[in-house]
């Protein structure tokens, strides 16, 4: 977990130095999720996630060199520099990416689970998604089919509140507005009725 944290902080610095281009979604703060998962599964169980995939890839057996090379677009990267931050894969360890379209990884994960059931494997698939993807229609379509067909899929929602950033900002403004309104009301009362001290 410590390695994962330091890796993500280093990636952040590299991104700000423009050595990593395009997108760079960081997993610092969420490390416990993938580490906890790995502790109880094996490499024949499959994991699929969205674009916040650096630590998940490391947990599945990826190396720091492969990760940083890929982030900086080098040949030594796990996708030979052709994928970038959002497209890490390690098929031999059961890691199927690394997907840029919000929510798309959930039906894909159900497909992996379908294949495990079809092959009569005794394994399961973990499809990770976030609070944003929780709104996607295809998630509910895939859940519906998984329930109908009894697929060995485990959906893991990592709610990092990324989707809510605007809502909190709005709530902050509303809170500020009402505080100012209350303050103005108190000042007005005090000036009009001379009630500066205590409440009436």
């Amino acid at each position: 977990m410590a390695t994962m944290r330091r890796m993500e902080i280093a990636a952040d610095s590299l991104y700000k130095a423009k050595l990593i281009r395009g997108f760079c979604h960081l997993y610092d703060g969420q490390e416990a999720v993938c580490v906890g998962m790995e502790a109880s599964i094996n490499k024949k169980d499959c994991i699929i996630t969205a674009y916040r995939d650096h630590c998940t890839f490391l947990g599945r057996g990826g190396t720091l060199l492969e990760i940083f090379s890929e982030l900086m677009g080098r040949q030594g990267g796990c996708s030979k520099g052709k994928g970038g931050s959002m497209h890490f894969y390690k098929k031999e360890s059961g890691f199927y990416g690394g997907h840029g379209i919000v929510g798309a990884q959930v039906p894909l994960g159900c497909g992996l689970a379908f294949a495990q059931k079809y092959n009569k494997d005794e394994n399961v698939t973990f499809a990770l998604y976030g609070d944003g993807a929780a709104n996607q229609g295809q998630l509910f379509e895939a859940l519906n089919i998984s329930a109908l067909w009894d697929l060995p899929i485990i959906l893991v929602c990592e709610n990092n509140h990324c989707k809510d950033v605007n809502l909190f900002l709005l709530l902050d403004f509303l809170r500020l507005f009402f505080t100012l309104l209350l303050l103005w009301n108190r000042v007005l009362n005090g000036w009009l009725f001379g009630r500066w001290h205590g409440h009436c």
Partner: protein
């Protein structure tokens, strides 16, 4: 050898005269009837899928009504009874969901055949076709391969209106990572479907609803379970020397009829059945244009950024000096498909349009107006 017999049958029709003239002794001893075996495109597709499912247990079928209903157009008839509900799966009406599940299964090594009731509904799932299937092999630097087939009827049917009549050939053919096939005859349907299922990459297989019921002669070679056609090779359906006409799917039939009409007026047209839209067989097309010096491209879809546009560009890039006339592009009208029968007829290419365009390239039209 069987293939050559089959090709001769195609070129001259299935009249008993020409068959007796070309049939070698071995074939005569096998079949006692005077006509070659005929097969509908529907049966060709059904038998191809059946044989591939039988040969490889990783192949399975998924789509709406493919199982109990025997297929919306009966293409998958009998397969549920034969292979069971584990391999022939009826889905709810959730294209995005089941296409994603199919692609995920392909990631894991299975070989799904995903049916869209028509390709108009593929737009609901197009993110999975393009972003999850087509691009994954490249983005993963070869780690993830996606041996999936997306199949279904494409293009105009009859009276189904604007939202159910679009041709998606050029949309899918512009995307690197996809292979796009469009069969015309039963031989095409069998050979290309088998090639698509065996292919390790995602294949978009564009059928045509109005061709399902049409019968074509098939040789013994075509009926063999190991038969397949190469992806990326066009077929010269009819040889000619005055003008090249390229077409795919239902338009091949129209082009062949146009070639018949043109031959009576002294114009010998070479008809190319593209078979493969991506990769496009640029070599065959260019060689033909270098021979005839004139080109008419025919497609059912919308004209702008269509298949004809790509063929024009290819010929201008590779064979410009060989052209004796401007290239003619025949396509569907640039309008959403109308419902009324007379308007619908005007919105799709007809045989007369192809004949007129071919005559224009030969400077034989009666007036210089483009609508002549």
């Amino acid at each position: 050898m069987w293939g050559i017999v089959g090709q001769r049958v195609f070129r001259h029709g299935s009249s008993a005269m020409s068959l007796q003239g070309t049939r070698p002794a071995i074939l005569a001893s096998r079949s006692f009837s005077s006509a070659a075996k005929e097969m509908t495109v529907r049966d060709a597709l059904n038998s191809a899928i059946d044989e591939e499912m039988s040969a490889d247990p990783k192949v399975f079928l998924m789509g709406e009504e493919v199982g109990e209903y025997q297929g919306a157009y009966k293409i998958t008839k009998g397969l549920l009874e034969k292979y069971g509900p584990d391999r022939v799966l009826d889905t709810p009406i959730t294209e995005a969901g089941f296409t994603g599940i199919g692609v995920g299964a392909a990631y894991h090594g299975l070989k799904p055949i995903i049916e869209f009731m028509t390709f108009n509904f593929s737009m609901q799932a197009i993110d999975h076709i393009i972003n999850s299937a087509a691009k994954s092999n490249y983005m993963s630097a070869g780690q993830i391969s996606v041996p999936i087939v997306f199949r279904g009827p494409n293009g105009a049917a009859a009276g189904v209106g604007a939202q159910h009549s679009q041709c998606y050939a050029s949309w899918f053919a512009s995307c690197p990572g996809l292979k796009v096939l469009a069969p015309y005859s039963s031989e095409d349907a069998r050979g290309l479907m088998k090639a698509a299922i065996r292919d390790p990459d995602p294949v978009v297989f564009l059928e045509n609803e109005l061709l399902y019921g049409e019968s074509f002669p098939v040789s013994a070679e075509v009926l063999d379970s190991s038969f397949s056609l190469p992806i990326g090779k066009a077929k010269i359906e009819r040889e000619g020397k005055d003008v090249t006409i390229t077409a795919f799917s239902k338009m091949v039939g129209y082009a062949l009829k146009a070639a018949e009409i043109l031959s009576k007026e002294g114009i010998s047209a070479e008809v190319i059945n593209l078979r493969s839209i991506r990769p496009l067989d640029r070599a065959t097309i260019n060689n033909s244009v270098r021979k005839t010096n004139r080109l008419v491209t025919v497609e059912e879809g919308f004209p702008q950024h269509g298949i004809g546009a790509e063929i024009c560009a290819s010929v201008v890039e590779d064979s410009f000096e060989y052209l004796d006339a401007a290239i003619e592009r025949i396509a569907g009208a640039d309008v959403p498909m109308p419902y009324a029968a007379n308007l619908e007829r005007l919105a799709v290419p007809q045989v007369e349009d192809i004949v007129r365009a071919a005559k224009r390239t030969c400077y034989r039209s009666s007036s210089l107006a483009a609508t002549a």
